[in-house]
């Protein structure tokens, strides 16, 4: 008797284990024989009843356990149920019973899968199951059938286990069959020999017991259904209802995890006739409600990550970021620092194999920013992800480095420490208000080889000179979507416009950074671009843009962990070398969402608008001959640039437009350039004239080269816009300064038309 509870109440056991054991034939046979007729009569009802029970219990009608009353908790798979039923069939030797059971099985199998069917069933038999009031009739009709079936089952069970009367003592839910088994089995056996009255009485008792069992079973089923495999999307009414009530967070969380589960095994777990899109939309709505993100961010994130990973990411953003310290190797060593901090109540560990200076603080009695060691400049509080761009940059001693967005100074001081205060660092920060923090950190950490200035990064090439430094670190201003755990406001405040603006600034800064670097530097020639954002328009798109606009190529970051960047995303196709960039996520690496890319500049010439024309190549030769003289370089580029005139910058922007970025810079640029051009043109008159003379011939060469160089300079790009624009520019020869100016003004107007005609020509 005790076994039965296990069999029935065991959580993961498939359909009645005990029942599967071969049964002695007597009792069941007897009961079958006796109740054959009844059971036959009931047979028609049986399936209905059992189906009803199962159907009603679960909204989503999980395949009802073959013997619901047996109390299988985990909705057994249909196959298992079928198997179980078949076994039961085998076990029960009676043909009638077999027939019944077969019917039962078929009905149950047929009815189970679909909600509609279940609902129909449940509709028809709901009363029987769910409302005790109607139980009387239902029971009357059903019970006989149930009884018939149950008797069989009960008998089976009984015989497998001990036939005892202890079942009555156990809870009905656990052991209902045992009780009824005893009574019905014995009674039926007796009654067949004796009067019908006894049988009727016992049947009544059995019915009552069965009814209670059924109720218990239903409860079980409802509980099971909550955990059932099948998940049903909430209907419109339910959603509206929810909208009126305050958000039920556990419910939302549950629904989110359910939908994720369905999506991960969609073909098996889906509701029929419900499209994947519906699930995804519901998931998005739930995530927005539960985690508090705005539409835009959720759209972007669902495009980037599969459902399971998305939830992991969002969960990790809810946690507190780990606190990290970086040892200042100018003043101390990590070992010594740890030895000094631990007695102060810090619980520290080295941050990982990948860094020799990092420490992660699990907890501390004092704030990490208030210790004597901190004030003495022995360490810096810094996020783990901030180590990465500097490690990728790998500054050497006695190099010239520029940090274009230096505040608050963590990376600058790390660079200084790596260089051991040799060489020179230009630490630039655009925002005056953040300057004092930068200065404080630099001086506190004892970095002495810095020049701190307050420029807009785009101006730096003019101030410091083009091609004048060895390495540049650009930790670009971004939307900060990788640091949501530090600043939850980002969840709701970012929009497509923010990303576009940031991407625009980032592109300009990156081009300026590239212009600063000297490709012929003996030890350097590298630019590291990093952002604390995970959005593709700010990361891969910017790098791709730079690859097209300048003579740079991607190289390995030197970071062996982290995911490679995207090569393709939705409709975008980036250069294949973008695999060398690295992405970091909080749920993978336990650090801020981060992106790092390392570029190597292999030539100081600027490919003008995606076409390295022969004139520019000729100019390039001149330039290469001279060292990094800004004047000469400008001169050589002048003629080409003049031909392309204002459009140069504009065409530089064009590719970005095709990449669905901003149009803002266009109107401003040409004006500025005009002024520059004017100043330079005066000095460069003769040289420009020379090139002008060759201009017409050069234009043809240029067009040819265009395609050629286009392929070489920008592999994998599909931009024809710039080509055409540059082509048009070539055609216009520049004769003298004044005419150039007027011509330039004209070009502005006619630019579009020429572009179109060029396009047509090119494609021919």
């Amino acid at each position: 008797m005790m076994e039965r509870p296990h069999g029935r109440t065991g959580v993961s056991s498939p359909l009645p284990g005990p029942i599967r054991k071969p049964l002695p034939a007597q009792l069941p046979v007897v009961s079958m024989a006796k109740k054959g007729t009844k059971s036959k009569q009931a047979a028609a009802q049986l399936p209905v009843v059992s189906m009803a029970k199962k159907g009603t219990k679960s909204k989503q009608a999980p395949p009802p356990p073959a013997v619901a009353k047996k109390g299988s908790k985990a909705p057994p798979p249909k196959a298992a149920k079928k198997a179980a039923k078949k076994q039961k069939l085998l076990e029960s030797s009676d043909d009638d019973s077999e027939a019944e059971l077969q019917q039962l099985q078929e009905d149950s199998d047929l009815d189970v899968p679909s909600d509609s069917d279940a609902e129909e069933l449940s509709g028809s038999d709901t009363e029987a199951d769910e409302f005790s009031g109607s139980d009387a009739e239902a029971d009357g009709a059903i019970s006989s059938g149930d009884e018939g079936e149950e008797d069989e089952d009960d008998d089976d069970d009984e015989e497998e286990e001990d036939e005892g009367g202890d079942s009555d003592d156990d809870s009905l839910a656990d052991d209902f069959l045992a009780g009824s088994d005893d009574g019905s089995g014995d009674d039926s056996g007796l009654e067949s020999d004796e009067s019908d009255d006894l049988e009727a009485k016992s049947r009544a008792i059995d019915e009552r017991k069965e009814k209670m069992d059924q109720d218990a079973e239903e409860e079980l089923q409802t509980n099971i259904n909550l955990e059932s495999d099948e998940f049903r999307l909430p209907t419109q009414e339910e959603l509206e209802e929810e909208a009126h009530r305050p958000p039920n967070l556990p419910n939302l969380k549950r629904r989110i995890s359910e939908i994720v589960r369905v999506l991960s095994n969609f073909s098996k777990l889906r509701q029929e006739d419900v499209a994947r899109k519906d699930y995804v939309n519901q998931l998005k709505t739930d995530i927005m409600a539960y985690y508090g993100y705005n539409d835009f961010l959720i759209e972007q994130l669902t495009e980037m990550f599969p459902a399971v990973e998305l939830v992991e990411l969002l969960e990790s953003y809810e946690k507190r970021p780990p606190e990290c310290l970086r040892t200042n190797t100018l003043k101390t060593r990590r070992r010594d620092l740890a030895a000094a901090l631990i007695p102060r109540g810090f619980n520290l560990d080295p941050i990982g194999k990948w860094s020799k200076v990092g420490l992660v603080v699990y907890d501390s009695t004092v704030s990490a920013g208030a210790t004597t060691e901190y004030m003495a400049g022995h360490y810096m509080k810094q996020g783990a992800s901030s180590f990465l761009p500097v490690m990728a940059l790998a500054p050497q001693e006695k190099e010239r480095i520029v940090d274009m967005a230096a505040a608050p100074g963590g990376k600058t001081t790390y660079i200084g420490a790596l260089m051991k205060n040799t060489g020179i660092i230009y630490a630039n920060e655009f925002n005056e208000k953040r300057l004092h923090g930068l200065l404080g950190n630099i001086h506190r950490m004892g970095v002495t080889n810095t020049i701190v200035c307050n420029y807009d990064g785009k101006e730096l090439p003019k101030v410091l000179g083009m091609n004048s430094v060895d390495r540049v670190l650009l930790d670009a201003p971004c939307t900060g979507t990788g640091t949501i755990w530090k600043d939850p406001q980002i969840k709701t405040s970012k929009d497509i416009e923010d990303i576009r603006n940031c991407a625009f600034v980032q592109k300009q800064l990156l081009l300026a950074a590239i212009d600063l670097v000297d490709a012929n530097s003996k030890t350097g020639g590298y630019i590291v671009y990093s952002t604390c954002s995970i959005m593709i328009p700010e990361n891969e798109a910017v790098i791709d843009y730079a690859l097209k606009k300048r003579n740079v190529k991607l190289v390995k970051c030197g970071l062996d962990f982290g995911r490679p960047g995207f090569i393709r995303y939705r409709e975008h196709r980036f250069h294949t070398s973008l695999e060398l960039t690295r992405r970091f996520y909080p749920h993978v690496n336990n650090m801020d969402g981060f992106f790092v890319a390392k570029l190597k500049k292999f030539s100081n010439t600027i490919p003008t608008t995606s076409e390295p024309s022969k004139a520019s190549e000729g100019a390039a030769e001149e330039v290469d001959g001279s060292s990094d003289d800004e004047g000469e370089k400008v001169v050589c580029d002048e003629p080409v640039k003049m031909k392309n005139h204002k459009g140069t910058k504009r065409t530089d922007e064009r590719p970005s437009i095709t990449k669905d970025t901003e149009d803002k810079p266009v109107p401003d640029k040409p004006a500025k350039q005009l002024n520059n051009r004017k100043g330079k043109r005066k000095t460069d008159g003769p040289k420009s004239n020379e090139t002008i003379g060759d201009g017409k011939e050069a234009s043809h060469e240029k067009t040819e080269q265009l395609s050629h160089t286009k392929k070489s300079a920008s592999d994998g790009t599909k931009k024809y816009g710039p080509k055409s624009t540059s082509g048009t520019k070539e055609k216009k020869p520049v004769s003298d300064k004044k005419r150039k100016r007027k011509w330039q003004f004209k070009l502005r107007r006619d630019w579009e038309a020429e572009k179109k005609s060029d396009k047509r020509r090119k494609f021919q």
Partner: protein, 188 residues
């Protein structure tokens, strides 16, 4: 950014002399580490917006490219000229002074906090003091683990310190590392 003139230079050197004594010339004549040039230059002092910066010549040369309103700092600042023309050393000079100063004072561990909050050093906090300290000498205040905490002027000579009361001031506070946290506008 311009080199200091006579008067300014004397004022700066006077203050520094209190700490370094004859070592002062060492300060300016040691080979410079900074700068990308292979041959080390020397260090020099430059004045920019009333602050005096101590930087190597290579750095200074390159800093001339930066426009005056845009330059924030070159090398390390060591002090600033007040409105009426006197010169005060600031906490940023701590590393430099700690390297070159002759007189040091060590504080007991529990009393570090008090000094870092800007208080002067009473005799009770004193753990060690350099032997031949005279009154009026510049002193660098260190912790027992040889971490420089700040600097000041010795109020008493070493012998007097032994005889003094426990609460008598031994070192007059001039600057301490806690100012990095307390005074954000230090450099601006």
């Amino acid at each position: 950014m311009r080199p200091l003139d006579e008067k300014e230079t004397t004022m700066v050197f006077e203050k520094l002399f209190k700490f370094t004594g004859p070592n002062l010339k060492h300060l300016l004549e040691r080979p410079a580490v900074e700068g990308p040039d292979p041959e080390p230059g020397r260090y020099c002092l430059r004045l920019h917006k009333n602050r005096v910066y101590y930087a190597s010549e290579a750095l200074v040369r390159r800093a001339t490219a930066v426009a005056r309103p845009r330059l924030a700092a070159v090398g390390t600042p060591i002090g600033k000229f007040t409105h009426h023309g006197s010169f005060h050393l600031t906490v940023h000079a701590l590393d430099l002074l700690a390297a070159h100063a002759r007189r040091r004072v060590w504080l007991k561990p529990d009393t570090e906090r008090s000094f870092l909050f800007g208080n002067s050093v009473p005799k009770s906090s004193l753990a060690r003091i350099t032997e031949n300290t005279k009154s009026g000498d510049g002193v660098v205040v260190m912790s027992m683990s040889d971490v420089p905490l700040g600097f000041g002027i010795a109020a008493r000579s070493a012998q007097d310190c032994r005889k003094a009361d426990t609460n008598a001031v031994v070192v007059l506070h001039q600057a301490d590392a806690g100012e990095y946290l307390r005074k954000e506008e230090e450099l601006m």
